[in-house]
């Protein structure tokens, strides 16, 4: 993995150049946010559900080793093969080993962020294994050699015409198709034979249940139930933080997940796997890949409560206007900004700055992660580690000194007003002022608040105090 910081702002600027894409992206995600609000308003118990979801997750994380062992024991009893992977590389090796034992060459996958995180396709494909994404959005991204743009709707940054072109190239369909129905049908037709002939199926898992040794997969297209049940071998890749203690805890999370994500009450399929089907074989790989390190970070451990609904992305004005690709990571948007630096602080050092700090992400989060506060904390951590660009760092230092001294601040503000009025644009709008790249600087005011206050209020209030004394 390259260590160079992701050029988020530059990539976002490129995304913003095309009006149809920019406008659709913004509107589509905002529509998802509004549908989520409608669901929320129909449920008086919404806040209580969020609160319970958060507390269940916090409790589980505080007892994670115990619950993992409980899950493992129950899963084994049900006949599931349980594997553990310290990191992505170990996970990928385990998958290759399982497939090798069966002389298997074709892996049919439903959507799972964690296998993208492990860069599994990149590992398996050179080893002669064909990996086929069967979720429509994820398949579009696979064919286009791109990371998912969004945790729930992976190809949300594309328009119908983009998909028509990709499908024309790989599926031989008409490149001018305008109707998404036709393209979805093309995916169904293309996926069926692959599903029918695949020798290994793979899913992720939204929730793992310690009490039963099972796990739950929430999907809409029906491809996960086909991928997992058609081949004889089903491998499920599960992040260790996905645990809940009891079956009944699922009630809380299933009620929140799709409502927060898409604004639909539930996903079309909510599938509970608890053991291999008759004659089949089931493997579960419990993946750490940085999670145990994150759980040891005082400011950031609670990001592990995340259930990957994407609500924070849909509501974020920066994400909506920059597109998932600009984050250069499997996880984008506000949640990406706080978990990506745990994978690589240098590479993802720019992401915590992709925020206006409006706090909307924290307000919509179904498990009450304080996302915007963690974004702020990451900025501090990265500044201390010098993982932010020179100009930003030096300007912040100057601003810090200025803001700490009221007299100096007042003098410089008055100076700024003069500068805004008199200086030519090339002095005000240059590389030292990225803020001014897409924005006009504020109009200069005739008088600062401080000088107005001194003239009009300070004297009278001192006078009044004097009189009353």
């Amino acid at each position: 993995m390259s260590n160079k910081p992701v050029k988020h702002a530059q990539a976002a600027a490129e995304f913003l150049e095309d009006d149809p894409h920019r406008l659709f992206h913004d509107e589509r995600l905002w529509d998802m946010r509004q549908k989520r609000d409608q669901q929320m308003h129909g449920m008086p118990e919404w806040q209580e559900l969020r609160d319970r979801a958060s507390r269940i997750k916090e409790h589980t994380l505080a007892n994670l080793p115990t619950y993992l062992e409980q899950f493992e024991e129950n899963a084994r009893r049900n006949g599931i093969h349980v594997h553990w992977a310290r990191d992505g590389a170990e996970h990928n090796r385990i998958v290759a080993e399982i497939m090798g034992k069966h002389d298997a060459k074709s892996l049919i996958k439903s959507k799972s962020m964690i296998t993208d995180e492990c860069e599994m396709r990149e590992y398996l494909e050179p080893r002669g294994i064909t990996v086929t994404e069967t979720d429509l959005g994820e398949r579009i991204q696979q064919l286009d050699h791109q990371l998912p743009s969004h945790v729930v709707v992976p190809a949300v940054q594309k328009l119908t015409g983009d998909v028509a072109k990709i499908f024309a190239k790989y599926y031989g369909t008409d490149p001018n198709i305008k109707d998404p129905h036709e393209l979805a049908e093309a995916q169904r037709e293309a996926a069926r034979p692959v599903l029918l002939s695949g020798d290994t199926g793979m899913t992720g898992g939204n929730f793992i249940v310690a009490e039963t040794g099972g796990f739950v997969v929430c999907t809409n297209e029906g491809n996960a139930d086909l991928s997992s049940n058609l081949p004889n071998v089903h491998i499920a890749t599960l992040g260790i933080e996905r645990l809940v203690p009891r079956v009944e805890d699922l009630g809380v999370f299933v009620r929140l997940l799709s409502r927060s994500a898409l604004g639909s009450p539930i996903t079309q399929y909510t599938t509970h796997f608890r053991g291999p089907r008759k004659g089949g074989e089931m493997h579960v790989i419990l993946v750490d890949n940085g999670r145990s390190d994150r759980l040891a970070m005082p400011q950031f451990w609670s990001s592990l409560k995340c259930i990957r609904c994407g609500a924070c992305m849909n509501t974020c004005p920066v994400y909506r206007r920059s597109g998932g690709q600009s984050y250069g990571s499997v996880y984008s948007g506000p949640i990406g900004a706080i978990i990506d630096p745990t994978f690589n602080a240098k590479k993802f050092s720019t992401l915590p700055f992709a925020s206006t700090m409006n706090g909307s992400c924290s307000n919509v989060c179904p498990v009450e992660i304080n996302i915007h506060e963690q974004i702020y904390d990451w900025r501090r951590v990265l500044a201390e580690k010098h993982d932010i660009p020179f100009v930003k760092r030096e300007i912040m230092k100057m601003a810090g000194r200025l803001l700490a001294q009221p007299r100096l601040y007042r003098v410089s503000i008055e100076g700024t007003e003069v500068a805004l009025k008199t200086m030519p644009r090339f002095v005000l709008y240059n590389y030292l002022n990225p803020w001014g790249k897409h924005r006009e600087l504020p109009h200069p005011v005739k008088e600062t608040f401080n000088s107005w206050y001194r003239k009009n209020r300070l004297k009278t209030s001192t006078k009044k105090e004097h009189e009353s004394a």
Binding site: F24, L64, W84, L196, G222, D225, G251, T270, H272, W301
Partner: protein, 197 residues
């Protein structure tokens, strides 16, 4: 040290949140407890499912045939419907892939979501076949409704006994291309429900 022990050991030693600070909240039943047929039907229709009316004198087989008048392939997993073949007759996935209409019985439904449950028991271990069919018809007893997700997980033992248990809420769907909702993605194209007593 094995990967398992490395991970567990790291979690034990380094994790910030500690047991005593985060108690597990007791399970609580929340939300609307209405388990009426009306609520279930409204939820099912919202998720893209349909309810097939049974008129006087019509058998369930008649209802299925009236909904799919032109089909030549009805596969049945229920005694109420003869169909053209039984689910237990399906020997290969290629054969299942030719099935047009699949008829199954669900042991219970959830009014909040319009969801029906299916497991290896009702499917006679033909787990993939129900998803390969083009259309699904579900028989559900009016007596077997539960109010919401909380009551479902509390009351239904299937969640602890089934190895495969799917809650289907309407047919397969996608909105992955330009946000257009398409009912009938990769699993069944339609899901219809017939009430039984």
């Amino acid at each position: 040290m094995s990967a398992r022990n490395t991970i567990l050991d790291k979690l034990r030693r380094n994790r910030v949140p500690r047991e005593d600070d985060y108690e597990l909240p007791p399970v609580k039943i929340l939300g609307d407890l209405d388990k009426s047929i009306e609520r279930f039907e409204k939820s099912l229709q919202l998720m893209g499912g349909e309810v097939l009316p049974q008129r006087d004198g019509q058998t369930i087989e008649d209802v299925v045939r009236a909904r799919f008048p032109n089909t030549t392939s009805i596969c049945s997993a229920v005694p109420e419907v003869e169909g053209t073949l039984k689910i237990t007759d399906l020997k290969t996935h290629e054969q299942s892939n030719e099935v047009d209409v699949m008829v199954v019985r669900s042991p219970f439904g959830i009014a909040e979501m319009g969801s029906i449950f299916l497991s290896e028991v009702e499917l006679f271990d033909h787990l993939a076949d129900v998803h390969l069919a083009q259309h699904l018809v579900v028989l559900l007893s009016r007596e077997e409704l539960t109010a919401n997700m909380h009551t479902a997980y509390r009351e239904r033992s299937e969640f602890k006994t089934a190895f495969y248990g799917v809650l289907m809420s309407g047919p397969s769907a996608t909105a992955d291309i330009q946000g257009v909702l398409i009912r009938g993605a990769q699993g069944v194209r339609t899901l219809s429900l017939i009430w039984t007593s």
